[in-house]
Symmetry: C2
Subunit: 231 residues, 2 copies
Amino acid sequence: MYDVSAPDKSKLSQLLSGIPYFRGQGPAVVAALAACAIPRTFEVDAIIFWEDQPATGLFLVEEGTVKISRISKEGREHIMHLISAGDTFNDVAALDGGMNPATATACTAVKVWEIPREDLRRLAEQYPQLAWALVESIARRARHLVGLVQGLALRNVRGRLAHLLLSEAQNLDSDRVPRMLTQEEMAARVGTVREVVGRALRNLANDGIIEFDRHRIVILDPDRLAAAAEV
Amino acid sequence: MYDVSAPDKSKLSQLLSGIPYFRGQGPAVVAALAACAIPRTFEVDAIIFWEDQPATGLFLVEEGTVKISRISKEGREHIMHLISAGDTFNDVAALDGGMNPATATACTAVKVWEIPREDLRRLAEQYPQLAWALVESIARRARHLVGLVQGLALRNVRGRLAHLLLSEAQNLDSDRVPRMLTQEEMAARVGTVREVVGRALRNLANDGIIEFDRHRIVILDPDRLAAAAEV
DNA sequence: CCCATACTATGACTTAAGTCTCATCCTCTC
DNA sequence: GAGAGGATGAGACTTAAGTCATAGTATGGG
């Protein structure tokens, strides 16, 4: 048992050191976190946790992609975040101790580490730099949420879609958004339905702002795309 | 100078002790916070800070109401929070060190205390319980934002309005929402325009869920109002 | 008491978004 | 290379939301 988990834990230390907010924490903190982290794996489409259930801890993604979303009573899904390796999720519930505000689903096979809330709290009180790192981390998450709120309240579908395309393109440091994004997925991310996304895309293409290269979207005019995304 | 500020500072300590997240911090922490807090006053409609400006610190309201909002390029305002005495604002920017994500305006004459980011950070690293209190505070703020996002993405105007009425009524522990809320204000809070709010209210009234008593809104059927607010 | 002002009511109309439906087109497997 | 299944394109239609215009109604100050 110990022999099996030992290599995992060292991998975790490495992972933790590579994460922005745990970088600069020093080996003691990393080791302490690694000591209480629980490894978990999920297969594609597995539910990691449901909304409105008590939070168990903070999750850290080692491998794979996790979707944080919520489904309306009419069955429409809204994707709030897509979390990839090296990032955390369920910060909110793990840190305020309330219920999970959304559902987490494995988009791919996923390996995560879970740090129980109580351990996190204990370590935060023991290592002040860790506490501050958590503060900055959750503050950044809140900032992202503010952006979402403003997008939904002040932008129309075209604007939100333009914003999504820009941020996806930025993620790849390229003007080519890979078509991992189906229209269905884009719809869930901007809070609308597939057909409307299709229309908005054709619209942007008619305006010469983007074009389709087979089934990839190519950004022709980043400036006008950014203008379309302005609040 | 010292004589003038002394009573203010003691008032601040009292205020700080009364705030949920600073309660249980012990007098040393409260005194330390009070020592670096800067008092500021604003008259009605004064801008406390603008969005996209560098954050100066965390604000704590002693008296009055502060509006946190953003205006679209077409001139539509969206109110994200209304902050009243005993609560903090600009947590996000103060804690992550980025730009202010929204504009803060004094809705009434306002007295606030500002705790500079660097002082906050120093004290947080010195007093671990303070750091954890900040973590929980910003996590709660993030939770509120998640609620806003989900409301905007998954509820229609009627649903968001129902939600607003319920939370306003709850704030007063009563089923009577005082008409401090104009339709214009409700519109800004649910992210729409005045006429649409008016229609939605008449709609709820036709359905027997609310009624108008002069210019107050009376909730007749909290259950059906809650059903209308469901995501 | 009257008027100015701010808020509300309401209808007519436009536009954006959502729904329904079906054709088409990849791409992967057999 | 045929067919199945997922993804897209697109038209027709419905509905929610937003805009415009205008009239009514509080209400507080002079």
